[in-house]
């Protein structure tokens, strides 16, 4: 190959290096590429955290947080909550009888009790009725996995072949598959409530309509939970060959008379199957949004009839009933507002500390420069 003249100098910046040399190739075969990337010379932004950047940031963030916190705090304060513990500890109301009756008996006998309360003013709607269980560890690992989502989603095969995770609530003693299988379903919350309103003192109690539909997530109700395909138009036939969980008194297809709310898509069941994250949890029981009560619960006396079935003594838990209104930010939650306020003030505080440091440093720096 005839040698050709080639420029080998790089950038030409270095004295002496910009020499023209004879070389057989234009540049060394192994010469690295001179790109910004390979030479690590990509244009870069080098933020250096220092007071001058941090100070405005601290103050701005602090102020913003405090503002947000105040808003949250007040809106959370505007939400009303009314709760009642109907566990039935001795001397806490008429549910204690039921609690006492259920003790030591399995299954506990059906029992009713009531909770009376009165509202002095309108309980701003929409009002949600929750029940709350405390000390109930739905998030216990072995409990939480004891279910078969495929069965619940109406897969016929899975209906008769529940997943192993369901054990020991996978099959009955007779070997029949349990539907729905698993510990979660087996421990379904089965208290029921009805709300009665007494408009005038001494007047009759009128039942307040509780909307028991739409309490589950839309996707749960419509996608995740499906009944197995009907057999001859009958849900009962579809479930033939399965047994209900041991704790249940009736089969799953008889959970409700409403065909759209029975079987696996019974909303109470769906809500229960969404296992709670924390040992103290609420679950939505009903929404009050019909008739006269769409604006909220008007003033007056109320009675909640409670069918007391669910035993809680085994785990030392409590059962509560809660009426709650909601705002733009969901349920009552004073914490978030407070947290914002605290963090905001912390920002301001650190801002001030920084300011002090900054001023002192400036002085020192000047001294240094004088050296």
């Amino acid at each position: 190959a005839a040698p050709r003249l080639a420029q080998r100098g790089r950038g030409g910046g270095r004295p002496g290096a910009a020499a023209m040399t004879w070389s057989a190739t234009a540049r060394g075969a192994h010469q690295p590429d001179n790109t910004a990337f390979t030479q690590q010379r990509l244009p870069a932004w080098q933020p250096l955290l220092s007071a001058s950047i941090a100070l405005p940031l601290f103050f701005c963030a602090g102020l913003a947080f405090i503002g947000l916190g105040l808003g949250l705090y007040y809106s959370s304060n505007g939400i009303k909550e009314l709760e009642y513990d109907y566990t039935g500890d001795a001397g806490t109301g008429n549910c204690s009888l039921c609690a006492a009756a259920g003790q030591g008996r399995a299954p506990p006998p059906s029992c009713s009790c009531a909770w009376y309360f009165s509202l002095a003013e309108l309980f701003q709607g929409p009002v949600y009725l929750y029940y709350e269980l405390t000390n109930f560890y739905q998030n216990n690992r072995r409990y939480g996995v004891s279910r078969d989502d495929r069965q619940l989603s109406g897969v016929r095969f899975a209906l008769f072949h529940p997943a192993n995770e369901c054990a020991p609530y996978q099959r009955s003693a007779g070997g029949l598959p349990i539907a729905p299988c698993g510990a979660i379903a087996n421990s379904l919350f089965n208290d029921s409530f009805s709300l009665w309103h007494q408009r005038q003192p001494g007047g009759p109690y009128v039942e307040v309509p509780l909307d028991r539909t739409g309490i589950a997530w839309w996707t749960d109700y419509h996608v995740k939970f499906r009944n197995p395909p009907l057999v001859n138009g009958s849900l009962a036939l579809a479930f033939r060959g399965t047994v209900p969980p041991p704790n249940w008194h009736r089969p799953v297809y008889e959970l409700s008379r409403d065909p759209n709310n029975t079987g696996f898509i019974n909303q109470d069941f769906v809500v229960w199957m969404r296992t709670a994250a924390l040992p103290t949890f609420r679950k939505l029981y009903a929404r009050i949004r019909q008739g006269n009560y769409s604006a909220g619960l008007p003033r007056g006396a109320y009675r909640v009839n409670i069918t007391y079935n669910y035993p809680v003594r085994a785990f030392g838990g409590h059962k509560l009933l809660i009426f709650s209104s909601i705002s733009w930010m969901g349920g009552k939650n004073p914490f978030l507002g407070i947290a914002y306020l605290v963090v905001g003030s912390l920002c301001i505080l650190t801002g001030f500390v920084m300011l002090v440091v900054y001023i002192r440093y400036q002085d020192q720096d000047d001294d240094d420069d004088d050296d």
Binding site: P3, A17, Q39, N186, T219, R282, A339, Y340, C347
Partner: protein
Amino acid sequence: MALSVDSSWLRWQWRVREGSAQSASEATPLLSAEKARRSYNLRRQRVVFPNNSTFHQDWEKVSRSYPGNRIHTTKYTLFTFLPQNLFEQFHRWANLYFLLLVILNWIPSMEVFHREITMLPLAIVLFIIMVKDGLEDLKRHRFDKAINCSNIRIYERKVHNYVRKPWKDVRVGDFIQVQCNEIIPADILLLFSSDPSGICHLETANLDGETNLKQRRVVKGFSQQEVQFQPERFCNTIVCEKPNNHLNRFKGYMEHPDQTRTGFNSENLLLRGCTVRNTEVAVGIVIYAGHETKAMLNNSGPRYKRSKIERRMNTDIFFCIGILFLMCLIGAVGHSLWNGTFEEHPPFDVPDTNGNFLPLALEGVYMFLTMIILLQVLIPISLYVSIELVKLGQVFFLHNDLDLYDEETDSSIQCRALNITEDLGQIQYIFSDKTGTLTENKMVFRRCTIMGSEYSHQENAKRLETPKELDSDSEEWTQYQCLSFPARWVQGPATMRGQKSAQPLRRCQSARVPIQGHSRQRSMGHYENSQPAVAFSSSIEKDVTPDKNLLTKVRDAALWLESLSDGRATKPSFSTTSSIADFFLALTICNSVMVSTTTEPRQRVTIPPSTKALGMSLEKIQQLFQRLKLSSLSQSFSSTAPSDTDLGESLGANAPTMDSDEKDDSSVCSGGYSTDGGYRSSVWDQGDILGSGSGASLEEELETPAPGLAGPELCYEAESPDEAALVHAAHAYSFTLVSRTPEQVTVRLPQGTCLTFDLLCTLGFDSVRKRMSVVVRHPLTGEIVVYTKGADSVIMDLLEDPASVTDIDLEKKLKKTQARTQKHLDLYARDGLRTLCIAKKVISEEDFRRWASFRHEAEASLENRDELLMETAQHLENRLTLLGATGIEDRLQEGVPDTIAALREAGIQVWVLTGDKQETAVNIAYSCRLLDQTDTVYTINTENQETCDSILNCTLEEVKQFHEPQKPDRKLFGFRLRSKTPSTTSAAVLPEVGLVIDGKTLNAIFLGKLEKKFLELTGYCRSVLCCRCTPLQKSMIVKLVRDKLSVMTLSIGDGANDVSMIQAADIGIGISGQEGMQAVMSSDFAISRFRHLKKLLLVHGHWCYSRLARMVVYYFYKNVCYVNLLFWYQFFCGFSASTMIDYWQMIFFNLFFTSLPPLIFGILDKDISAETLLALPELYKSGQNSECYNLSTFWISMLDAFYQSLICFFIPYLTYKDSDIDVFTFGTPINTISLTTILLHQAMEMKTWTIIHGLILLGSFLMYFAVSLLYNATCVTCNSPTNPYWVMEVQFSDLTFYLVCFLTPVAALLPRYFILSLRGTYEKSLLLKAQKIDQLPRDKRDLEIQNWRSRQRPAPVPSMSQPSQHPMPHRPEQAFRASTPKSSSPPKRKHIEDWVLHGQRGSREHMTDDPCSGDSSAKLSSGEHLLGPNRTMAPGAYSGGQTNMSRCSQRGSHRRSQSSLTI
């Protein structure tokens, strides 16, 4: 990985194989009764039978048991790859741990996650590493294959001839024919050389980095072969030692059929990897092959290096395991307690499959194991993969750095070890080789002084400054490239170099002057590798631009010289002219330089004994050619007449010159040298012949053309490069060395006259005498002249005392010359030049005869021959007349002083370990600023352990007194001392201490268990110089320092002699492109120039370290932070090991969402720009002190992780408390929050934001949402029983989610942000300051850097160019020299050793003498020259008859003043 294990295993395997084979061979009747006399012990000896017809049977039996020559350095084979690699990978604790967890997860009662999913991360990790290992091994395999398949000529019994076969087919006992420039494939015993004197020339560059030719001799008894060696006739059995790794130790014997034995030694052994030079053909028998060769045994294989960060990391992983254990314990105990609170089994307490409940204790144990599975991420499995990947990225950038690219060799840095890049940023000690590493090993004549007048050779200096690119050499090389030749018949050096176009410049001390169009073909076995076939020096070395001033004087001198031959009337006087002539004659003659022409590569110009009839060989043509040219002996010409035709052909090109030569021939052959034998014997025995010889005109006056056009240009091959440099220098003044034989030296004078000097005697150079002499008979005057050349310190002592001269004028003149020369010598020394003094002496015929017989006796004596020879030498070399001195520059590589200064500023201790002699090493140390003129230098030379001990003690005591106040931070006393503690001692500036030590002393130290003292002493030393080190010692030193001081060490070297050192250090760096590949092969990084080390360490090292360290810390933080979320949740789920985050999302979190940013961070982040790092080497100290990653940073980040996880968990917890939140809906904001926090944390850690950083961070964040949304939307029942269906979507429609996700990261990062900005504002750490400087615009930045530097170093480091402007007073060097009586210099000769008081007295004196030495740098008082033994010797206290101590008087200016001690 477990390379070391592996290679040693391999070796063990060979041993075993060998051992078993041996036992088998002993059992078999191999050495049967009929050959009972040959009962060799194969366990202790190696027996080699030649592979020829006679011995074929024996050979078959024995040699089969020896390994073949195939080498095999790979770790795996195709079949063993998978199991072996897995096996090795599970040596890693983490992998084993994760394997354990995977297995645990398969136990049903502990199954936290899906069994298969749990295997995923481990499988990925194993796979990635496996691929990487596989590729590395493949590379090794290819290299082995290339080597194994290179060809060599092996004697084939059946064909009765040599056959070309690959290296791997070479077997022990084979006869091998190696041709010129071929590489020797195995260790072979030399049986034949085409050289008439039975010598084979070797270049051992591959082995020890030395390019000068070594001579190996044919085994005694084989040297007189007249024809080609006949393997069939070889009927001896060879018995020698077992394979060992001593390169220079070998002995054995050959048993002849008649049971006589011939011994041989390492002189007769050609080692694998050497290159045959200058010898047409050599034949030998293979003694060791393959892995048993000395070269391979010396190559102990790389050891698996674990970087410091990795070691640190491993301890931190143990901390993590501790934390994990604690957390699991809490979980287990908590679970049991929680379970115990229930009187009956609550509905959420699910029994096992059979409906039974486990006892509490067992439940607790299970829970413990389950918790381990749950919290396993605390031990970051992805960290290992990430580190591997990051290192790959770092290596990529290292590889691509243009600044580490050398255009000359077209090579950039090679990273051979991928797993220790970050160690580059933590180096505390550098061990460097000298030759070829610091220096280019190009000796360049710089200036000289003759008779007291200095010739500065400024043009020469200027020439040296011009860039090397303009080297004419490269032009020639391309010209040759244009010449086309048949491919296989490659001819000559030039084309060879053309082929290896990557290496246009070869370093060597012989120079080639080009001849155009030399196109003689010859067959040469080329080893087609990247090996340089022939080494030549560049024009830098050979072209010396003469000093104009001197040139004219030289012409005069030459004229004067010629006038001698005319009249012989002029008496030689001490006139300047005659001295100049003598000076140049001495330069030309007084050496051992061999001359060869360029027509053939490195062919020696010799005038051989004519009786030897050779086959038509290259040598012969060469010799004839030379004879024609020089026309010295006519008989030889006629004796080779039969081959005249060939000769004519080959010399056709030179025919025109032949005529004149032939004409002269007749006139020359008139001498008394009728036969070769007579010629030989004439020197010693026949004084009368000598006498008559001088009468007979030995000089030849040839009418040669002007020097520039002279036909064949000459190559000079010298044992030491300085000799070549001097010859070149003389050549520049037209004193050309034309030929050298053992008997004669021919010199061409400027006028073209050739003078042939009879070499009466040569006293070779040795390190004890430090000088060499030649005794010649001057052809013109007939005088017997001794020319001596040697170290200034020695020669100055041997000069004739001016006082003894009768002539007053002469005395004055001599004194003046000596003083002035001394002054110049000092000047040279300060410039870092290697100085040599040239002296002469004329002795009378009678004296010489007496001395000669004396010498002869000494040579003949068997006992204490060495001592006698030494004594005779001393008898001759005294009362010399000083002619002058030369200053030779051993050219440092470009940028070496600068690099060393920067490295030292960076707090790195630089040690030089060299096999070179002490003077050279010290010289280089000065010129590369390893030692400073102001340093106090201690030299320890002793063989005796006790002596060594006491010297160490004394030195230590003394040094401690210097440094008493600075004792605590001895490592850093370089700067700290100056910048921080204003020196409390009276002297404002403490002298730095340097230590020079030699191999023998090191031996004593190692044997005498003095390592601790030695290390303590070196702790005080700024630099340590170890000379005359064997490769083993080098590695021992490195190991010593590394292990005893537990510091990070780096070794850098270029030759095979550095291999062990390179492997011993934490980081081994090989310099490539200069020497063989041995050093590179064993190194972790291979660079092409020493100066690349600066950027490699200061920039890349810093970056790699800080990147990786911070990434590791970040990883720990990340994992702890994330895992703790799960842990906190356990408090709310009854310690049941349930998770609020879907497992897939958890895996994705580590695998995708948070993996890329740290990788990018680890590869790309730059805390400080390269320019600033280079400008402020101190910044390197952050890496040395492990500032980015140490125990405290680890724990701080752990604490931070705990805090952040607390915030990340409890803010959502409190927010969602008492609501209808479900598990995954609760987990999603937590996951999101922690992701945000972790990414923002990363963002805060990043110091440099490029578009890549931004995109990756943003991408990770968005990917999280995209993947989560998609996953949550599509997976209805795919992941039963956990089911996060539609959770993300629901959260997205919830305002609280946003509020929480906004607040929590702010709260979590607030403290860190606060601290960081506080530090950014307030703290004055170097790194932060540098970062601030980095932010400034360019011009301001430069200013700031200057400010900084001036603040750091109030006393600026003097630059090389202004050596005289030292602000500090000169401090004399002190040398404690001790030698045992065994030492070859006889103690009675006082003037050789100045025995000096050791200890404090002498040194204090040095301290107090400051003023005197201080001003001496400015005015070199001419009256004070050094080392006159008579001056310096104040006979000191004589203790115990053993210690002769004397005070070394202050020698003013001379820095090399020697104060020595012996016991």
